[in-house]
């Protein structure tokens, strides 16, 4: 405080000449304006972007889903290519330097011999066989998207060499290629399943929440009963019932439907509770008074209010479907061998004595965990972002 600040002191009184706008305090800065005028989806996007981990996970998931479009190109071998002289070969290590000299990425070729004691094949690296990897090269032929023939791969082994970065299985098939092909089935089964269960949850939950009363009561009971049932044994029972003579594709859809049939309860509950809360809102009453039909009110006025929330809930229930399929196939009740998912691959690792000898058969566990974690983190971020006004 200076002299002028003292009580009783007479000082120069400052008066601003600038024109005074009484509304200046209410005016929005450009930043605020942008925020207040942004649509709900834009707000969600902003909020999601700040959730660093969720964005990373979304990126991981996108990459994996994108890879399913190009599985044939990405995998060094075809799904069913068998190298009968390399049964249960261990993963080949990738090297860059040979004898202190730079040669680019390469693997050492295998020498194999049969251990006469336990008839196990023993593979050793032969440092004389330097097998340089080729990129964008010609290998196994395939039919791309079922449309046109091609034989170009991202990476192939050297001419007459091998490339088993994750080892081979009991028929000498490359694990890496099989995992890449398995991604396709494992990931799509979650997506197709969630679409079915999403539709079921919307319709059933919507009816229960909008009409209330007896419909609501029945739906509530059904949900309660389905939820009190341990999921996996029920899945097991249902998939065991699938006729044995069904084609693999039919089995695939059968399993998807079975997974979806028990999964819709969570979504239906979310829809119902949201609808119950929202149908009391004034705008809903107004729409009713104007003579809008229930279908229009639900779809046009109520759904947009909590759709984002639903998407988040659905994202969080995809992993349980992927896990369900993996568990079923692992037990041998799910998909059957010509169709290859991670669970089908893990089926080979069921016997511990085999796994102890050939631990790389367990490798399909890794992508399963990565995908489940990614979906969980992403779904968590999405759920936080789904309520952007908080």
């Amino acid at each position: 405080m200076n002299e002028q600040g003292k009580p009783g002191a007479v000082g120069a009184h400052y008066v601003s000449d600038a024109p005074f706008d009484p509304r200046s305090i209410e005016a929005l800065s450009p930043d605020q304006e942008r925020y207040y005028l942004a649509s709900q989806w834009r707000l969600m996007w902003w909020k999601l972007k700040r959730h660093r981990l969720a964005v990373i996970c979304a990126f991981v998931l996108l990459t994996m889903y994108a890879s399913t479009l190009f599985s044939e190109f990405l995998a060094p071998y075809n799904l069913h290519t068998r190298k009968s002289s390399f049964i249960y070969a261990p993963p080949q290590r990738m090297h860059v330097f040979h004898d202190g000299e730079f040669v680019g990425p390469f693997v050492y070729g295998f020498d194999s011999r049969l251990n006469m004691e336990n008839f196990q094949r023993v593979y050793t690296d032969n440092t004389n066989k330097v097998q340089k990897l080729r990129f964008f090269c010609r290998g196994d032929g395939y039919k791309f998207w079922g449309l046109f023939e091609s034989d170009v791969h991202l990476v192939c082994p050297a001419e007459s060499g091998t490339l088993f970065l994750l080892g081979t299985d009991r028929l000498g098939r490359d694990m890496l290629s099989r995992i890449i092909y398995g991604t396709r089935i494992s990931l799509t089964i979650g997506l197709i399943g969630i679409i079915i269960s999403f539709a079921m949850g919307l319709v059933i939950g919507g009816l229960a929440g909008y009409y209330g009363g007896i419909v609501d009561h029945v739906v509530q009971r059904v949900i309660e009963i389905l939820r009190s049932f341990p999921e996996l044994p029920l899945w097991m029972a249902l998939s065991a019932v699938l006729p044995v003579n069904w084609s693999p594709v039919l089995v695939f859809f059968g399993i998807t439907v079975i997974l979806a049939m028990l999964d819709w309860t969570g979504l239906a509950r979310a829809v119902r509770s949201k609808l119950l809360a929202l149908r009391e809102e004034d705008y809903c009453v107004a729409a009713q008074l104007m003579g809008a039909k229930p279908r229009r009110i639900i779809a046009r006025h109520l759904l947009p209010g909590f759709f984002s929330h639903l998407v988040a809930t659905a994202t969080l229930s995809i992993p349980s479907m992927i896990l369900g399929e993996t568990a079923l196939s692992f037990l041998g009740l799910g998909l059957r061998p010509p169709v290859t998912s991670w669970g089908v691959l893990l089926n080979e690792a069921q016997n511990i004595s085999v796994v102890a000898l050939y631990p790389w058969l367990m490798l399909p566990v890794a992508p399963v965990i990565v995908v489940i974690l990614a979906f969980n983190f992403f779904g968590d971020g999405l759920r936080d972002a789904a309520d952007p006004y908080k």
């Binding site: 939820r227 009190s228 029972a237």
Partner: protein, 331 residues
């Protein structure tokens, strides 16, 4: 309270009826009846078919009657303790099942106790130390536990035990006790083997429970009365335990209803991997060979176990929280 208990018990009956109908539909789905496929199988193996016995079974289980009557036969039989006939083992289901049901209950109960013991302190720690390194570390660990399917965890643990100790950790008791009557030594042996499946099955439930306990307790801790208490100079420990923790405890009891189906699901598959003598492997075998009475009674048993578990948690919750018993008493 008595009224609430009665109400809850009565509500169980329709639930179990619907579940039994559902299970019956599932076991009816495969084409043909069990005896037909059984006869076909026996004949294809060149074994003689005891027609008298088949006819007796057919009559006894009402397989010559319409479907809805079969259902009632099955239902009434179950109420009288007759769970049907296992064609694979050629024995009544009750004799095949043996200890497996007890062991399943044992594994489930211990898993839930384990879940509580682990989740409770960690959840409280995470909530009271929000955004600390400990909280972050435990949250991450919880997420990984949540994401790892327990049968894969079982597989990995089997492998590691094989590598490190050179032993198999499968099974639920030492070999000499298998098929022996229950004794104290056998019980101890079971307890010694129990911890591995309990840990494996418990991880995902524990992780979920930690997260929910943390969220609930955090909500409670942000309330005004906590601030008031702190302003009054209440010691931190008392401030935590006196009200917020008790509020969070309610949900803790209620949560058993949501983790029990997960625990039982997980227990089935884990049991297959670890080859535990519980219902899991036998259910799988029964499903694969379409030995449907056996599979059906297992499904029924698992569902009943879940329903009873939920009932217990509801009753405990009502005993703990007067709001619940008053609310449902009035309506």
């Amino acid at each position: 309270m008595l009224r609430y208990v009665l109400q809850r018990l009565l509500m169980m009956i329709p639930t179990l009826l619907v579940i039994s109908a559902l299970v019956f539909v599932i076991i009816q789905l495969p084409p043909g009846d069990y005896l037909e496929s059984h006869i076909a199988e026996l004949e294809s193996q060149g074994e003689s078919v005891d027609h008298e016995k088949i006819a007796f079974l057919r009559h006894h289980y009402g397989l010559d009657k319409p479907v809805y009557q079969q259902y009632f036969y099955w239902l009434i039989g179950m109420l009288q303790g007759d769970f049907g006939y296992s064609f694979e083992y050629d024995l009544p289901v009750t004799e095949v099942v043996g200890d497996r049901l007890i062991l399943t209950v044992l594994v489930s109960v211990f898993t839930i106790i384990f879940t509580w013991l682990i989740a409770f302190p960690i959840g409280i720690y995470s909530a009271t130390h929000q955004y600390s390194w400990g909280d972050y570390g435990l949250t991450l660990l919880g997420f990984i536990g949540l994401a790892t399917p327990n049968f894969l965890l079982a597989l990995v643990m089997l492998y590691l035990a094989n590598i490190w100790f050179g032993t198999s950790i499968g099974g639920l008791m030492d070999p000499q006790y298998i098929d022996q009557p229950w004794s104290w030594d056998k019980f101890v042996s079971v307890l010694e083997h129990l911890w591995i499946p309990v840990v494996v099955i418990g991880t995902s439930g524990t992780a979920g429970m930690i997260r929910r306990l943390r969220a609930n307790l955090l909500d409670e801790l942000q309330k005004q009365y906590v601030v008031t208490g702190r302003a009054k100079g209440l010691p931190p420990f008392k401030l935590l335990t006196k009200y917020p923790l008790r509020m969070a405890l309610n949900f803790f009891i209620a949560d058993i209803g949501s983790i029990l189906p997960t625990v039982i699901s997980g227990a089935e598959v884990t049991a297959v991997v670890l080859s535990l003598p519980t219902t899991g492997p036998m259910l799988l075998g029964a499903l694969q060979s379409q030995d449907m009475y056996l599979a059906g009674s297992f499904l029924m048993f698992l569902a009943t176990l879940t329903v009873i578990g939920v009932l217990i948690s509801d009753l405990a919750l009502a005993a703990l929280d007067p709001r619940i018993r008053l609310q449902s008493g009035n309506s």
